[in-house]
Symmetry: C2
Subunit: 352 residues, 2 copies
DNA sequence: TGTTAGCACTCTACATAAACGAGTGCTAAC
DNA sequence: GTTAGCACTCGTTTATGTAGAGTGCTAACA
């Protein structure tokens, strides 16, 4: 059996209605509120077909129908139609260029959560493709060495190394010179084994130290070894009864709080990269078990200068995919406009 | 009517029993499980008195009694008895001295949440009383200046300043020297107007710049102007039915997520400073409306070198105050041991 | 005078049953 | 192919009854 135009319309009507009410939708409702001008009986026949095709189900015999994961999938892939809507003005927020990437991200997450009424997450940027601007080593006494690393976009990171002994100021000076003249302008990815080895040799007696420093630098830039994730609007899930019962809500919020599993999700999303950079996971498609009653829409953002990350919106399976995807697209576009003509003056971040 | 010994024992029994079960406790229960050897009828008479005194209430006519806020207050202030208990071993966690304060704090919050089964919060430290170790200025080109600030305890902060023009390397060098020779060893609080003015004069043509730098430094150290708060274990509240219904849970988690109101709470807690540095807020005593079904126990921690903050445990009003307060005390003591013998450079070694 | 046994009473929680209604599938007629 | 009609299903609501926990009060007891 194939999905003719009428069936598609009915499926779309069911999904949209269910989106608004959260209640199973019956044949009479569709008959009355759609522009198909068909009696409920006809709708019923079609619905039986749709059910046979696995696109909708009845929660129980005498109830209306709700979409299945497969139904949502079809809708997202082929049936969605852009509906006019007030493009939410985030510009005001973003325009006041926050000077810290971290803060900007948190604000974006919060803003999106308020705008959409869903939960949101956003990863801290990865700097793997960002160019090194300079490294500055300073002795701290006490056998400790402070390394401050500045990358493109004026992001500042720092790390402290424990050494066997203190280093003489003039040695420090030449080390600084050595590192900067060799690494300046390279991205983290480009600092490979070959270069490290090369530097080690040039450094002579400080070879081991150079290696140690570079490792620490790599660690620091890789954002403390683990991907940072910020979440916001977790409590929005209480707006959707199907997610509000103790068990589900607790698990869900725990997942959002712990963030470990979100990390897996983000990794997968980075691998797949859907159309227009937007990715949709529906229910059981989700790699995260505790979120199988949810859908997640993810997008990859770019702040210019190789600073990239992922942003995600988490809601019930009946989330308003059109609105969410539009909002994300708008946001991405605005980020692009704001950060594309990088006049080399944007964010800085202070390490801790 | 006054609270004689027997009434006190009964009240204590009621509170402890309610703590464990979460159910209103009846006269028969007390009669059987307490060491008073009284019949339920006698207990009933006493309970009627306790109710008249406003220490306990019946949720409804044919139910047992539960403590009121006033009852809890009396218990916390006078009736609590230390019960032997496994002092939870956090040492293992803490011993692996994380070198980033932020991470340490997050870990502590998480650990406490796991140990107590309540939600926790912890403020980032304030560095107002921490001594400056050194400041390092570096030109970044493009009219930008990077200031890296290191304070006692090897906390590193940094900030970027926008200037009218770039500064010559030798000027930078003398500025660095000027700042460090004058500010080294001072706390943020000690860097007052007088010193700033003094430095400004010494700096000659760079006077304005010095002022700008010092302001930025102060901002950076003050932790971005706002108190950082980390929370953990928010989902623990679902373990307590009285907090688990949609409305309450949602509000509570929202409060924990947003943190604004927690900030007020912390401020108040810093002002009051209860006995042994521990503060207890019960129900309606709470300055935060959304937490009026909860109790919060706060303590002020110190990591040595003037690094201070507040830690708090949020649970139902029937929380195990004894355990919570013990745990906090233990933690504080362990922090003390771990951070007290901070071996500073000799010159800094004047006890505070 | 303090304690206790006994009892009537209250109120919640739970179970059962009946009534309701939304929605269906099927059939027959258009 | 569409639709009206109808019997049927099943969850939701409402009413009713019952069991049990716990109380307050009274009267008897030590």
């Amino acid at each position: 059996m194939d999905l003719d135009d009428r069936k598609a319309k009915i499926l779309r009507a069911i999904i949209q209605n269910y989106q608004e009410t959260g209640e199973p939708v019956g044949s009479r409702t569709i008959s009355k509120y759609s522009d198909l001008n068909l009696s409920s009986a006809t709708i019923r026949n079609e619905m039986a077909d749709l059910e046979e095709m696995g696109l909708i189900v009845q929660p129980h015999t005498s109830a209306g129908r709700i979409p299945t994961d497969k139904g949502y999938r079809l809708y997202v892939d082929e049936l969605m139609e852009a509906k006019d809507q007030e493009v939410t003005e985030m510009k005001d927020f973003l325009i006041q260029r926050v000077d810290r990437v971290e803060l900007l991200l948190k604000q974006m997450a919060k803003l999106l959560a308020m705008n959409t009424n869903y939960a949101t997450m956003i990863t801290g940027p990865s700097y793997n493709n960002t160019k090194l601007k300079f490294i500055q080593l300073s002795g701290m006494g006490d056998h400790k060495l402070l390394a401050v690393i500045v990358v493109e976009g004026n992001i500042v990171k720092n790390t402290i190394l424990d050494l066997d002994r203190d280093i003489e100021p003039q040695d420090l000076l030449s080390l600084n010179l050595l590192l900067n003249s060799n690494l300046n302008g390279l991205t983290l990815n480009e600092i490979n084994l070959g270069i490290v080895k090369d530097l080690e040799e040039q450094a002579g007696e400080f070879g081991g130290l150079v290696r140690k420093i570079l490792n620490a630098v790599a660690d620091a830039i890789r954002n403390d070894g683990g991907m940072q994730i910020y979440t916001s609007g977790a409590t929005n899930i209480f707006k959707y009864p199907e997610l509000s019962d103790g068990q589900t809500a607790s698990e869900l919020i725990h997942t959002l709080e712990e963030k470990d599993q979100l990390r897996d999700l983000v990794k997968q999303s980075l691998d797949e990269d859907g159309k227009e950079g937007i990715q949709v996971y529906i229910g059981e498609e989700m790699p995260v078990q505790t979120m199988k009653d949810c859908s997640v829409v993810t997008a990859n953002y770019e702040l210019g200068g190789g600073i990239r990350g992922t942003i995600g919106i988490i809601g019930p399976k009946r989330m308003d995919y059109v609105k969410v995807m539009d909002t994300l697209k708008t946001l991405m576009a605005q980020l692009d406009i704001l950060f594309r003509p990088v006049v080399e003056e944007p964010e800085d971040e202070r390490g801790e």
